[in-house]
């Protein structure tokens, strides 16, 4: 029979049973515990483990020879971007850096996507989206709005790795409840400490991770969410008229990002089940993935490249939902002018208030 040593949840020392109190008492910090409390705490500790975030790798499939012949890939010599399109669409400019593309290659050596979400919004809608994005921004330099090359919006299919998983989580928290009261001479504060344990599972479908190194990851994540219910099985015909990016970040490299987001969501969801405490702090958490699956899909994005005062600006619109994102430059002259005016105004008002209060 293995000897069981209980550790004190307060200071970590070894606890002993005190026959006078009929309770467990820590000889180092003098805190007393009920038997059940320690047993529960110990059980929680046993359930601690480490994360297990592994994926099955069976995404994508191989192209058939016919399909390979129907597609061309283009390489940009300026930035190294590689895009794919069908025979009928000519790629004349690199959508990432604006330079004219040169080489045309046979498509080879890459996986065929499992799914594709076709473009739901056309170029007109994209231009409208851009105009709306630029309107109503107080600190946007006026010149920026006029200097845009609106016609050069391009529709691109961006490769994404999609991850499905069931996440099992064991999370342990330390919570406190605080009550205060006072009498004539003292203010009393009682803090009660709890060990909170939650174990359960949560399912995730199609968590996307950008598979193209040329497409900035933050831009692609900002354009989310995509509604997978509108995805269809891939067919080359969908590429007509649009450009598609080949993946160059493989699934292995994308997994850590998916893991991060899934773990974060799981911890959030479980944290929401803990309520009624003044403070809650997670002490240990482990998340394990079950029945995980990786898939390869193309998602539609409208891209616009612009240069302003030597800086490159990249805008993206979700080709399915119309969400438009892109960082805009600041008109610093306007910023400081308005800032100083506002500062003067607020200073005058606060001085006036101080003056009036002083008169009272």
């Amino acid at each position: 029979m293995a000897l069981q040593e209980y550790k004190c949840p307060c200071c970590g020392g070894a606890i002993a049973f005190d026959p006078n109190l009929q309770k467990m008492k820590c000889p180092y910090c003098d805190t007393e515990f009920e038997m059940e409390a320690l047993k529960g705490y110990d059980e929680d500790l046993k359930n601690e483990g480490t994360d297990q975030l592994e994926w099955h790798n069976d995404a994508g499939s191989a192209w058939t020879a016919d399909e390979e012949n129907a597609l061309r890939s283009y390489v940009c010599h300026s930035c190294g971007g590689e895009i794919v399109t069908d025979l009928t669409t000519a790629a004349t400019e690199c959508p990432y850096c604006g330079n004219p593309v040169v080489m045309m290659n046979q498509l080879s050596g890459s996986l065929k996507p499992d799914f594709i979400i076709p473009f739901k919004l056309d170029k007109e809608a994209a231009i409208q989206g851009l105009k709306k994005h630029l309107s109503g921004k107080f600190l946007l330099p006026k010149v920026f709005k006029d200097e845009n090359h609106l016609d050069e919006i391009k529709g691109i299919y961006v490769p994404f790795w999609l991850f499905d998983a069931d996440a099992d989580a064991d999370i342990r928290y330390r919570g406190t409840r605080v009550t205060t009261w006072s009498d004539a001479n003292y203010i009393y504060t009682r803090t009660s400490f709890y060990s909170i344990f939650r174990e359960g599972s949560l399912g995730f479908d199609h968590v996307p991770v950008d598979g193209s190194s040329k497409m900035p990851d933050d831009l692609m994540e900002s354009v989310e969410p995509y509604d997978f219910s509108q995805a269809v099985d891939f067919q080359t015909a969908y590429l007509a008229g649009y450009l598609a990016d080949k993946y160059d970040v493989d699934a292995e490299q994308s997994k850590p990002r998916a893991n991060e987001r899934i773990k974060e969501s799981t911890e959030d969801a479980f944290r929401n089940t803990v309520s009624g405490y003044a403070t809650v702090a997670p002490e240990s958490s482990n998340v394990r993935l079950k029945s995980s699956r990786t898939q390869y899909a193309l998602y539609p994005v409208w891209i616009l490249n612009t240069t302003y005062k030597g800086e490159k600006y990249l805008f993206a619109m979700n080709g399915q939902t119309g969400k438009f994102v892109g960082n805009l430059p600041t008109d610093w002259g306007k910023f400081w002018r308005v800032q100083l005016l506002l500062a003067a105004g607020i200073a005058a008002v606060s001085y006036g208030i101080a003056f009036l209060v002083n008169l009272l």
Partner: protein, 256 residues
């Protein structure tokens, strides 16, 4: 008959002399020694101190040393010493030390009247009575009264009249400027942040499968509890008052 008339006249004269003048508040008996507890030099020293305090703080300060309290409590005795009929000013303080309270202990009391009630608070009176403990225990009544005088000097100096409402001090101008600058900076940064829309997603909350959350085990275990207490800050509680002979007095007393 002549003899009777002479006796009556003598009595009348004595009575007239004995009754102090009431209308003029000009009793200058600031040091009273009814028990031969103080020497001549000590009396004149205390007298001088009393005059000092009066000129500084506009309060009559009366030092009294008695052999016995005549059956009264020390507080009562001290109060009666500066009733309006005694002729001191309207704002006065009596410091009393008694060699015998009738029960074998020494006694001391402080009595405040008029404006002086609020100028010496209960907490200050308490401390004064603390300060004279050694002197009282050793029977050094001059030292006790001297300590009273020193403490009175300190505590009376504490409350200065409220400053007249002058114009807003000059330093409000830079303060207002700083407030204006910071507030407008915050506002402008808020407006500027509208220009930024590209940010990494924090979690995969959009991709959670509907109704897939299963909570299999849920345990909230009570561990232990601690109680801490902090002392409430003692505010300056002011002065309590009582009434003797129809006049309101403040003050306190203690036996030694």
């Amino acid at each position: 008959m002549k003899r009777l008339f002479a006796v009556l006249l003598t009595l009348l004269l004595v009575a007239l002399i004995a009754v102090p003048a009431v209308s003029a508040a000009t009793n200058t008996n600031y040091v009273v020694d009814n028990g031969n507890l103080l020497s001549e030099s000590e009396i004149s020293d205390l007298y001088q101190k009393s005059l000092d305090l009066q000129s500084k703080y506009d309060c009559d300060v009366i030092f009294i040393a008695v052999g016995s309290l005549d059956g009264k409590t020390s507080q009562q005795y001290a109060d009666e010493r500066h009733l309006p009929s005694e002729g001191y000013s309207d704002d006065s303080i009596v410091f009393l030390v008694a060699a015998d309270d009738g029960h074998g202990s020494k006694d001391a009391a402080v009595s405040t009247k008029g404006a002086c009630i609020n100028r010496i608070t209960d907490a200050e009176i308490d401390r004064m009575l603390d300060d004279i403990t050694t002197a009282m225990k050793s029977g050094d009544y001059y030292a006790a009264l001297d300590t009273f005088a020193a403490d009175a000097d300190t505590y009376l100096s504490y409350d200065t009249p409220a400053p007249a409402k002058g114009p807003l001090p000059w330093y409000w101008i830079p303060i207002a400027i700083i407030i204006g600058f910071l507030a407008s900076l915050l506002i402008m940064l808020g407006v500027k942040s509208k220009l930024k829309s590209v940010v990494m997603q924090r979690s995969a909350s959009n991709y959670v499968r509907q109704n897939s959350m299963q909570l299999r085990q849920s345990r909230d275990t009570f561990l232990y509890t601690t109680v801490t207490k902090t002392a409430k800050p003692k505010e300056n509680s002011g002065s309590s008052t009582h009434s003797t002979g129809g006049t309101t007095f403040g003050g306190g007393s203690r036996k030694y």
